[in-house]
Amino acid sequence: MSATDRREFLSRTGKYLLLTGTAAAALEHVLAGRAEAAPGYAEAAHWWGMAIDVEKCIGCGNCVRACKEENDVPREPYYFRTWVERYHVEDGELAHPQVDSPNGGYDGFPERYSAVAATGKTFFVPKLCNHCVDSPCEQVCPVGATFRSPDGVVMVDRKYCLGCRYCVQACPYGCRFIDPRTHVADKCDLCYHRITKGLTTACAEACPTGARQLVDLKDPKDPVHEFLRTRTIQVLKPQMATGPKVFYAGLDGSVR
């Protein structure tokens, strides 16, 4: 190989390498913010949400435990993809509910309000990411690491998240946290690894009373349609105009 050939060869190889590298980097950016779904799963055929029947929740904490186990959520009491709140509202005191959620309801709830000498009412409210259609967390992410998949699930690309925490500030519902081990944002993804395989979420599966149900709003056979039609439905903080897809039946006006 003559000197000129070698020079030309090196120059060409260099250019190809550069181009391939750039293309690969570009592709990686294009692919960033895409969900990992099971093979054969049709994103466009689904529109996921959750239906919660407040009156059925008994505050057992099964959902919280199942979620932490399934999704390897840190066990400390400051990190939850889902948690359960106990509300106690004295008669007419809608603006001043007493709320607690010891360890997010992970260990259930210790007796606090006597059922015998009952004044007011006590009930449990399961909380999780609302998978908002107009999610503020997705809007504020500076790099697009938080994204909504075509089937309506708001997720975080952990390999892309900067850990700036703007999304945590932007969520009106307190559904996000920074995982202290990975330093990136984490939140409920409706057990995406399960639902794309035809399973339900870990929390819904663990619920002994069926208080929480994964719903597919695009599936005409999903019982959610009857649920939405026949029950009085509320979403959390509707004034935030975030388009939540967690639908509560029997939600008290004191819940925020």
Binding site: H29, A32, P77, Y78, Y79, F80, W83, E85, P97, Q98, V99, D100, S101, P102, N103, G104, K127, P136, Q139, V140, C141, P142, V143, G144, Y160, C161, L162, G163, C164, R165, Y166, V168, Q169, A170, C171, P172, Y173, G174, C175, R176, F177, I178, T182, H183, V184, M240, R256
Partner: protein
């Protein structure tokens, strides 16, 4: 109702108990505010030909640069993955208020501040490049960027372009800090932040803090160098500080009045916070010591005839208190905005660490760093007008 979690009163959503943004994020608007304010003071001389503040012109520009260079550091240190921060430039998410910071920052640094300083100093740089030996001379030769023409015609062009850059610079300075206010003001989930007044309050408080910093620096530097303080200059800068402060305070009071009168769903929770956890930093430090006292001192000078030394004392006290007050304002916005629950049912506590990545020690060093940089810049590019006149 009490809480079993230490530092928490009432009910916080579990994920809210730990604060997300630390003292480093308090530094971020504080430092960028000083940049914008110092630059706007410098622009007064340049664009509006306010001759009296001329002795502070170059010092203000160098101050703005020193602080601007440090501005991204607290953000960088705060990120969970600082090594990914470049993604904000490469794949910015256009709907994110935060994504624009890199671009606003670069625009301001490269297009406005560096260019203006270079144009203003070019004559001095060329002169020093020709006379200074050794590596310092080399530095000046590099700083000329190969442009050594200092003929009257060339300098006239410099001046013309410089004036244009300043004209672009004023809205840019407004943009820089108004934008920082928008990052907070646009978070609808947080009623303590969410107000359209936030960018404009940030902007005016920035102007106030920048002017106060340059005033204090100018007087300290004069004392350190053993040269008399140009009182016409100090009086004028102090007067501008008063004007800006009155506007800033009016805006903040308008915001407060609006909140009190409207008393929306968040009001009781925020009001309680201001009277308890935020009382010292908000009422005592920010409003009383950091706003009312300096305004009173500055206003007194306007209505009572005081000796030069008394005025100097008043200005130094007012300037220093102003800086403390504006820092407290940033603290109250950033930290205060995270102390209450978005359920409006409880409050948490900020536990500042010391020698950690986001601790007090880091914050203190970051706050001292711009002064170190400024010292270096002043050595390299002396801003003293009397020396320039001699040269």
């Amino acid at each position: 109702m009490g809480s079993l979690i230490p530092g928490v009163d009432g009910y916080m959503y579990p994920n809210e108990v730990e604060l997300q943004w630390s003292v480093l994020i308090v530094l971020y608007p504080f430092i960028t505010g000083l940049v914008a304010g110092a630059f706007i003071l410098a622009s007064l001389e340049r664009v509006f030909n306010v001759d009296a503040v001329k002795p502070t012109y170059r010092l203000a520009l160098l101050t703005a640069l020193a602080f601007l260079l440090v501005a991204p550091l607290p953000l960088q240190l705060h990120l969970g993955h600082p090594e990914r921060s470049l993604e904000m430039y490469l794949t910015p998410h256009l709907s994110s208020a935060m994504a624009m910071f890199g671009f606003v920052y670069l625009w301001y640094l490269m297009v406005v501040l560096l260019l203006e300083i270079w144009l203003d100093y070019r004559k001095d740089i060329v002169a020093r490049a020709e006379t200074t030996p050794g590596w310092r001379g080399l530095a000046y030769r590099v700083l000329t960027l190969g442009s050594r023409n200092v003929s009257a015609g060339a300098l006239a062009v410099d001046d013309k372009v410089g004036r244009f850059v300043t004209l672009v610079g004023i809205p840019s300075a407004f943009l820089l800090h108004g934008y920082v206010g928008f990052i907070f003001g646009s978070v609808k989930a947080n009623p303590w932040w969410s107000t359209p007044l936030m960018p404009i309050v940030f902007l005016f408080s920035a102007i106030v803090s920048g002017i106060a910093l340059v005033l204090v620096l100018y007087m300290s530097v004069c004392v350190a160098r053993g040269v008399p303080i140009d009182m016409r200059c100090a009086d004028t800068v102090a007067r501008y500080l008063l004007y800006a402060f009155v506007i800033d305070f009016s805006l903040e009071m308008l915001d407060l009045l609006h909140r009190v009168y409207e008393a929306d769903e968040s009001f009781k929770s925020l009001d309680f916070m201001v009277h308890t956890r935020l009382y010292a930093s908000h009422i005592l430090v920010q409003i009383v010591a950091g706003t009312l006292v300096p305004i009173a001192l500055l206003a007194l000078v306007q209505v009572v005839s005081l000796s030069e030394s008394a005025r100097r004392g008043f200005y130094a006290a007012a300037g220093a208190l102003t800086l403390v007050g504006i820092f407290a304002m940033r603290w109250n916005v950033v930290i205060g905005g995270q102390l209450f629950s978005k359920s409006f049912l409880g409050y948490t506590t900020y536990k500042m660490e010391f020698a950690t990545r986001e601790g007090l020690l880091t914050a203190t060093l970051l706050l001292l760093l711009p002064f170190g940089i400024l010292w270096g810049l002043v050595k390299l590019l002396p801003p003293w007008t009397e020396e320039t006149a001699r040269a």
